[in-house]
Assembly symmetry: C2
Homo-oligomer: 228 residues x 2
């Protein structure tokens, strides 16, 4: 019962960058590069070289001083750390516009996250086939999750249905959720949730645009330009 003491903890910020390094390293490997320096990797990843070294150091000392990192070995280590040594089937909830696009987006399966199934609450959509995956009814969720050993669920419903979708996923046994709906999901502590919100991203860009404008744009009149 005693789960083995988790070894080392990798900072969240590092975990978020490892997939980027992984993709770059994989590309480099495909191009025949078999050794790479932290500086080069940093350049390709748009970050600082010291950061790359520190990030990689959390995995262990897998570099060679004076030389760099062996690409293939590093790819293996990162994949292992991220749990990418085997596939993680995902189930998509919501067969609307977004759900369809996600199913059609090849990136899922290719990167180790095959779409086990798509479910929807609308009977009219059940039975149709999207990119080779048949849409099933949301009531079948528990069965799908169990038989296909799904631990990651993707919420691609309208905002109003997102919480219900999350509840159903959790009840079915899913332990991680990727949420595309513009809603803050309430889930048990143990469930890991990540959110992708287009509107938020655009509004952050908008903030910077508005800031850049310095009040020059056809503003409604409430903007007081800064002195400099």
């Amino acid at each position: 019962m005693a789960p083995e003491r988790t070894r080392r903890r990798i900072p969240d910020a590092t975990v978020a960058r490892l997939p980027v390094y992984l993709r770059i390293l994989t590309e480099q490997g495909d191009e025949g590069v078999d050794s790479i320096s932290s500086e080069r990797l940093a350049e390709l990843g748009g970050v600082n070289a010291a950061k790359v070294r520190k990030d990689l150091s959390y995995l262990g000392s897998y570099g060679t001083r004076g030389v760099g990192y062996e690409v293939a070995y590093l790819v293996y280590q990162i994949r292992r750390e991220l749990g990418l040594t085997h596939d993680w089937p995902v189930v998509i909830v919501g067969a609307g516009n977004l759900g369809q696009a996600l199913a059609g987006y090849g990136g899922f399966g290719e990167r180790g996250f095959p779409v086990a199934s798509i479910v929807d609450i609308d009977d009219a959509k059940v039975g149709s086939v999207l990119s080779g995956v048949r849409v099933r009814h949301i009531d079948e969720l528990p069965q799908i999750v169990q038989t296909k050993r799904v631990s990651i669920g993707v919420v691609a419903t309208p905002a109003g249905a997102a919480q219900d979708a999350a509840d159903r996923l959790v009840r079915a046994g899913v332990t991680s959720i990727l949420n595309f709906a513009p809603v803050v999901l309430a889930v048990p502590r143990a469930i890991e949730v990540r959110k992708v919100d287009l509107a938020v991203e655009l509004q952050i860009l908008s903030y910077h645009e508005q800031r850049r404008a310095g009040g020059a744009i056809h503003a409604v009149g409430n903007t007081r330009p800064a002195s400099a």
Copy 2:
């Protein structure tokens, strides 16, 4: 009275949360709530009450002690700070799977980011109409950006075409980019780029799943996810 002078700098972390507060406040306003406490807002936003107060304090002192914040007024202030007092037309590059989904996703226009145009490099796609927006050729980008005063571009191309898309957007005059392609874009310092990468998000979830699984780390042959 209000010395609305200097454009103070708002921390990035706060800017990223303001859109969430804004959405919640808008919803609450629609439901007839006209005053809200930092605690309630925190609960709905899944954050700490002190954080909410600190975040909002960057906008100015718009709360009333002992009472809370006036929803309508706060909505106005956040919108002003985020530059949402007017629309920001966006142009989508790439009329493939993702580009179509984005165009079809109503959330853009509703939230103040109307799709000015979709462009693609493939002549076969030019001329078709997606969700009321006609697909135009990518060579028309400069003209579109200029005539429709677009400052935000969305890269929805395959990875291989993303850098070219970004280069064209920048040359056309766009100053902010939302990138959906799994590529680190190289752009001039002045250009603001935000990235949305599904694979990265899934891999972060995978990391936590793998960690949760306990000690089965050196799984090479036995790759069955722990069914706790």
